[in-house]
Structure formats: structure tokens, C-alpha cells
């Protein structure tokens, strides 16, 4: 398992750059990871989604799907795509320090 240092904190990541231990995450890390994903600033609506995903993952043990995010956070799918362009479920999981959302095989 690889590690990397973000904002002075050493965290464990997988080979696609997803953090593997959600407990190592903090808000500064989120800001930094968001920049890497091309999101210059995290607005209150970004945080609404991130907070929801953190809570959802804490109870279910896995990063939520787009449908779970929209039905649970009150953010529409359209808005979710504008907040986290291209693959919002994956992007928000990365920024929120959660594992990659389980694909459906």
C-alpha cells in the first residue's frame, strides 16, 4: 500500500490515488485533493455533498452512488455534475477521503 503526504499529513492511498483510511482525512486534505481534481474552490454546496458522503460512508462502509447522494443530500443530479464534473460519485469519493465507489459487476 502506497502512502503520500498531503498538507503535512501522511495518508495511505491505493494505486488510483483514493485514500484507504477515511479516518486519516481532514478538511485541508479535501481542499488540496479538490484542486488536484480541477475544483479550485469548495463552495458550501460542495461541502454539503462531501459531508453527506462522509456520513453515508460511515454508516454503510462504502462511498455512496450518485443516486444515494442526490436522494440523501437534496442536491439534484444536474447540480452534482456541475459541482463535480465528469463522474461525480468517483470525484467526490476521492475528495472525501473515501475508497473508490464499488462498481457494479
Amino acid at each position: 500500500m502506497a502512502t503520500r503526504t498531503i498538507c503535512g499529513v501522511t495518508v495511505q492511498v491505493n494505486d488510483e490515488g483514493f485514500m484507504t483510511n477515511p479516518a486519516e482525512w481532514n478538511k485541508d486534505i479535501a481542499v488540496e485533493l479538490a484542486k488536484e481534481e480541477g475544483i479550485a474552490e469548495l463552495t458550501p454546496n460542495h461541502w454539503k455533498v462531501i459531508d453527506f458522503c462522509r456520513q453515508s460512508a460511515a454508516t454503510s462502509g462504502a462511498a455512496p452512488t450518485i443516486r444515494t447522494i442526490t436522494s440523501g443530500s437534496g442536491i439534484s443530479t444536474k447540480e452534482l455534475f456541475s459541482l463535480f464534473p465528469k463522474g461525480p460519485a468517483k470525484k467526490v469519493a476521492k475528495i472525501s477521503g473515501l475508497g473508490k465507489p464499488e462498481g457494479c459487476v
Partner: protein
């Protein structure tokens, strides 16, 4: 007498009824199976029908042929499930009470969830092969089609048989070659996934196969709506794809009645323990097959492997022992790749599909994650096995949990 009610007489419900009727002491048990449809469809065959490989008569048989005499089959709709009272209310006015309930109501397509999809062009320029009627209509359409741009679009995951859309587009490539019109057809696969498939090794291999066949992949395409008159699909991030013929895999959802009973997630699938299939909420309710919210394929092979282990576990449980966490998410998928060849995948919750030989390590005869003619014959042979062995709950010479023997790391 103890009462077991099974909701749904599809693949999972029929298999588990056949299995349990042999394993339980039927002097002490009543098993009731409820389903609204008297016909059992061979769903894996829906993929083949549009290309003339199977005809209509290959695709169905009466359900009653597969239900053991000691199981009572009731043909009725399910109006409501009341899990707090252990009761099921049926459309014919009957109320069934149960000691144990098995939910096997499967998953179905919902074109009405995507604006523009299931409207006036449905069955004309927009088709699906995810239903019996849909597969037959698409058969007619392909027979008279003059060519153009064919787009296969998966609306959202999870779907039943996640490899079927890939198989469809690869078979389409072969079909149009055979009909001497491949040069008049453009094939596009628009998927919400970030590649051809979810798991990295298989995604890479299948991605290469698609590109060799001249099939374009439009990844991370999350459809928002269809413009049926302009013949285009539009994604949430405002990408547009024009089509002449759209083959859609509409949103898949579990049964509404399950959602209304408070037993489902946002797609009406039943949250269960992924190793025992016991409901997270009720200690006398299980979900088997596609109806269960577990992170593996919605596929008959998964239902088969799960039920292989479930039988013993259920008997133990009803005798007062704890359930054993035996099911590992084991799945097999035969992927038809066209030109008489196929690819086989074998995987579970933890292990992604890898190359190797199956089911006998080092021998085969099937090769994993690699195109072969034997894999294609395996898929065709499977129809006989389905009707004669699987549905009747007979054992196959395959281990229910996945084995790493015969696989190699890449």
C-alpha cells in the same frame, strides 16, 4: 407446521424452492411460491434473439413445469408485504402469513425514469433487449435496418447481467459483418462507467476487444434525457450523442412492493448481509438473486452459487443455529464476443476476474478472460443446463465459492 413464503418464481425463487423442498422435512413445512406470471423466460436468450441465434420458442416454458409438487404455486400479484406482522397480501384477496420469507422478486427495467426514453419512439428508433417483447421487437428492427449509427446506452448501474450490453454490441459487429453491411454501421457504447467494465484487468481486455472491432466507447456518460425526435441522447454534463438506432438498457429497479414495505434501498433492492443474505432489518426475511442489494453481479450464476450455500444455512438457522458467513459473491459470466467465440469471467467480492483455466485448474476446458470457441459453446450449452439442471435445483460439478486454483496474476 412452519410456513415459508417465497416471493417470485423466477430463476432464484424456482431454484431455492426446488432445493429446500428436498432439504426440509416436508411433514413440518408448507412452502408457498407467489408469482404473477405463468411463464418462465430464459432471460440469457434475450441477447441472442435479435441476431437470429434463438427464436421465440427457445425463450420460454410454463413455470409450472419447474415447481415441485409439494410446493404450492399461487399465480397472483403481490399487493403488500407487512414485515412487522409477518404477512403478505395478494392481489387475489388472499393473505399469506409466514414464519420465514424469501424475497426473490428480481429486477426490472424502467424506461419511464429517463425523460424521452419510453415515449413515442419506444419500439421504433429506441429499443431494448431486456424484456421478452423488447427482444422480439428489436429482432424485427434489425432484420430491416439499413444501417447508420447504432448506440448502446446503459442508463445507470447496477443492471441485470452487466456484461450483456457489451455482448450485444460485439454480436452486432459480427451480425453486420455476416450481413455484408458492417461498413454502413457505426457502433457506439455509451456507459456511465469509466471504461468498458468495472474491474481493471477485465476492463482493459474488453476495452481492447471493442477497439479491435471498431466499436467506440463513450465512457462516464450519465444520460439525463433522450430527444426522441432529434434522435440524440444527452448526458448530465451536456454531451450529446446522435443515433439512428438506440438500444437502451433502462434504469433497473427492484419491485415497487418491496420499496413500499420499507424493505428496499433507493432502487428497491433489499439490504442484506452479503455473506448470509439475511435482511439487515428482520431476522426471518432473506433476499436471493437480483432482489438483494449485494455488491456482485445481478446474474443467474450468482443466484445459483448463493443458493448452493443458502440451502444448508437456512436449514441450520431454522433449527436454531447461527447462519454461517459462507457466500463470497462468486459469479461466472460467459461473454459472447461474436464470430463464434466467447470470454469467461470468474470472480467474487474480493477477487477481480483474472486469466486462467476453468473449472479444472490447468485443464479447462474453458479459458478465463480470453476469447475461445469453447467458451462460446459453453454459453450455448448453458440453455440446456438451465432448464434441466439449474432450475430444478440440481448440483453442478462446480464449487460454490470461488477458487484461485487455475488462475494467474497479471
Amino acid at each position: 407446521m412452519k410456513k415459508l413464503v417465497i416471493l417470485g418464481a423466477g430463476t432464484a425463487g424456482t431454484m431455492v424452492a426446488n432445493r429446500l423442498v428436498r432439504m426440509l422435512n416436508m411433514d413440518q413445512w408448507h412452502i408457498t411460491l407467489v408469482d404473477q406470471d405463468p411463464v418462465h423466460y430464459y432471460q440469457p436468450g434475450f441477447l441472442f434473439a435479435p441476431f437470429g441465434i434463438y427464436t421465440q420458442k427457445d425463450l420460454f416454458k410454463p413455470k409450472v413445469c419447474f415447481i415441485p409438487p409439494l410446493v404450492k404455486l399461487i399465480q397472483a400479484t403481490i399487493e403488500a408485504v407487512d414485515p412487522d406482522q409477518n404477512k403478505v397480501h395478494l392481489g387475489n384477496g388472499m393473505t399469506l402469513s409466514y414464519d420465514f420469507l424469501i424475497i426473490a422478486t428480481g429486477t426490472d427495467i424502467h424506461p419511464e425514469e429517463t425523460p424521452g426514453l419510453g415515449e413515442h419512439e419506444w419500439g421504433k428508433s429506441i429499443h431494448t433487449f431486456y424484456s421478452f417483447q423488447g427482444a422480439l421487437a428489436l429482432t424485427q428492427r434489425l432484420r430491416n435496418w439499413e444501417g447508420g449509427r447504432l448506440v448502446v446506452n446503459v442508463v445507470d448501474n447496477p443492471i441485470k447481467c452487466p456484461v450483456a450490453p457489451l455482448e450485444f454490441i460485439m454480436l452486432a459487429d459480427w451480425y453486420f459483418h455476416e450481413h455484408g453491411m458492417r461498413d454502413k454501421v457505426e457502433l457506439i457504447y455509451a456507459t456511465p462507467l469509466d471504461g468498458a467494465f468495472t474491474k481493471p484487468v477485465a476492463s482493459r481486455l474488453i476495452g481492447e476487444m471493442l477497439s479491435d472491432k471498431g466499436i467506440q466507447v463513450e465512457s462516464e456518460f450519465m444520460i439525463e434525457h433522450v430527444e426522441p425526435d432529434a434522435k440524440k441522447i444527452i448526458s448530465y454534463d451536456e454531451r450529446e450523442i446522435d443515433y439512428d438506432l438506440l438500444v437502451s438498457i433502462p434504469l433497473n429497479k427492484g419491485a415497487d412492493v418491496i420499496g413500499k414495505a420499507g424493505l428496499g434501498d433507493e432502487l428497491n433492492y433489499v439490504p442484506v448481509d452479503k455473506h448470509t443474505l439475511l435482511s439487515n432489518k428482520y431476522p426471518n426475511i432473506f433476499a436471493l438473486g437480483d432482489a438483494a442489494a449485494i455488491p456482485t453481479s445481478k446474474a443467474g450464476s450468482v443466484a445459483h452459487y448463493a443458493i448452493d450455500l443458502f440451502g444448508d444455512n437456512f436449514v441450520r438457522y431454522t433449527e436454531g443455529y447461527e447462519l454461517l458467513p459462507t457466500f463470497d459473491g462468486h459469479a461466472n459470466c460467459f461473454i459472447e464476443s461474436g464470430f463464434g467465440k466467447g470470454v469467461l469471467l470468474d470472480f467474487n467480492y474480493e477477487q477481480e476476474p483474472l486469466p486462467g483455466l476453468f473449472p479444472m485448474p490447468g485443464v479447462g476446458p474453458f479459458s478465463l478472460l480470453k476469447e475461445s470457441e469453447m467458451n462460446h459453446w459453453g454459453k450455448l450449452m448453458f440453455r440446456w443446463m438451465y432448464w434441466n439442471i439449474l432450475l430444478k435445483g440440481q448440483e453442478l460439478p462446480l464449487t460454490p465459492t470461488m477458487s484461485m486454483m487455475g488462475k494467474w496474476k497479471v
